[in-house]
Symmetry: C2
Subunit: 253 residues, 2 copies
Amino acid sequence: MGTTQLESVPEPKYWHLKTVLSEALDQDFAVGEVLPNERELAARFGVARATLRQALEQLELEGRLQRRRGVGTTVAPPRLGVDVGSARQGWPGEAADGWQPVDAAETLPTAAVSRLLGASTATYVHTVRRTRVTEGQAVAAELLYVPAASVPGLPGIDAPAGPARARAVLRELQRLELLGQDRSVELGSARADDAKELDRLPGAPVLVVTTRYITATGTAAVSIATYRADTCRLTFNASGAVDIEPTPQPRAS
Amino acid sequence: MGTTQLESVPEPKYWHLKTVLSEALDQDFAVGEVLPNERELAARFGVARATLRQALEQLELEGRLQRRRGVGTTVAPPRLGVDVGSARQGWPGEAADGWQPVDAAETLPTAAVSRLLGASTATYVHTVRRTRVTEGQAVAAELLYVPAASVPGLPGIDAPAGPARARAVLRELQRLELLGQDRSVELGSARADDAKELDRLPGAPVLVVTTRYITATGTAAVSIATYRADTCRLTFNASGAVDIEPTPQPRAS
DNA sequence: AAGTGGTCTAGACCACCGG
DNA sequence: CGGTGGTCTAGACCACTTC
């Protein structure tokens, strides 16, 4: 860049790189297109591969890129808007909202889970695994914890494993009267099993949505859902307002 | 470890490191305590510093650690629960919820902003900057975009800059009838100016909360708030249920 | 087998904070 | 000033996908 290095605060190379790449993505690349490989890009910009990778990492974090080992780096489509808030006051599984039961089992709750469940401190909890698919993509993996006390009418552990059993727990849960629920969203990194379901590497950034389902007797169930942070935008429709449109591309003239 | 390396899928060193460190944090460290420096930790575990840093990065992303250049790495307190959803149907600035007006200006909207504002395509928008402080910590920085058409009664640009002007825009906005709002949450990285307000380095992971304020005539305003992803947990109280308690530490027996 | 991204190393220098 | 985390390099090898 010329001789004008008067910048008293020289921004890091990877940061500048990110800006340059971001503009290039807007102008010269279409969604789905594959970029040159990392070694060539690094050479082209005159930096080490590690530095180039730092820039790519951030762009992937922002949902601009998608990297797959053995395949390459491609331009990501706009993030998927995934509805999380408008299904007001419903038990899980009540609406056909893309959640698919996978399995269920009886386990002892971890310290963190029993803390969320509150004073009930049930000895056993049913653990239901579900996966959410939107537009053909696996966007979330959920673990739903239901204390045995919440669903007394449930058949014993002799029930067949698999989706059928998961559905049985959900069906039983829906018989309770739901008073309310509270939700929280935070950043996390995917555990190994969740990463597998989401087709990502372990440690991938995820949005962790924790929901407590409240009945008259306290917290009847807790759901911990992990959404792919790179491809998802969680939407909460606080009112009956129109849905947000899926980010139409402003085409350059 | 011993000689049992039968694991056909050897997990990455940094991943294993992260697990070991995480357990050490639970058992041997108190909140606020400073860890040994990176060079020593790397030596102690027999890995390169870059590898050690990869583990620390993930732990920081999960809110377990806090790193500050020139100071050191400390054990982070549990994430702050920041209420985002329960202030139902209110204009910004209506409740004393920790938001502090900083400044305001008149600008031309960027392509992304005018897309969010919808078909109105106003030529000018008022841009209000606010900061949110919770428990003494700056947790969020917001840019609120208000098309000039939404607040026709506002004095011209001769108004004094600074918080007073920001308050004037908010006051004018609150005269409209709010029909609803929709919100979305996604992962992003802090722009330079936001990072400064949040006392983080540029590129730090943030949760971007986008809110559209709807009136009878369309989208009257758009807010883009960036929350520190490392220290914040966004909470949405969908019902009048009790608040979630701030993660009491389970003491080992 | 060839090509991709993912992990790892052993150094170096820089920007920032504190005494 | 010394010590901290932040950036950067030039290599190497590994895991995975595709052909």
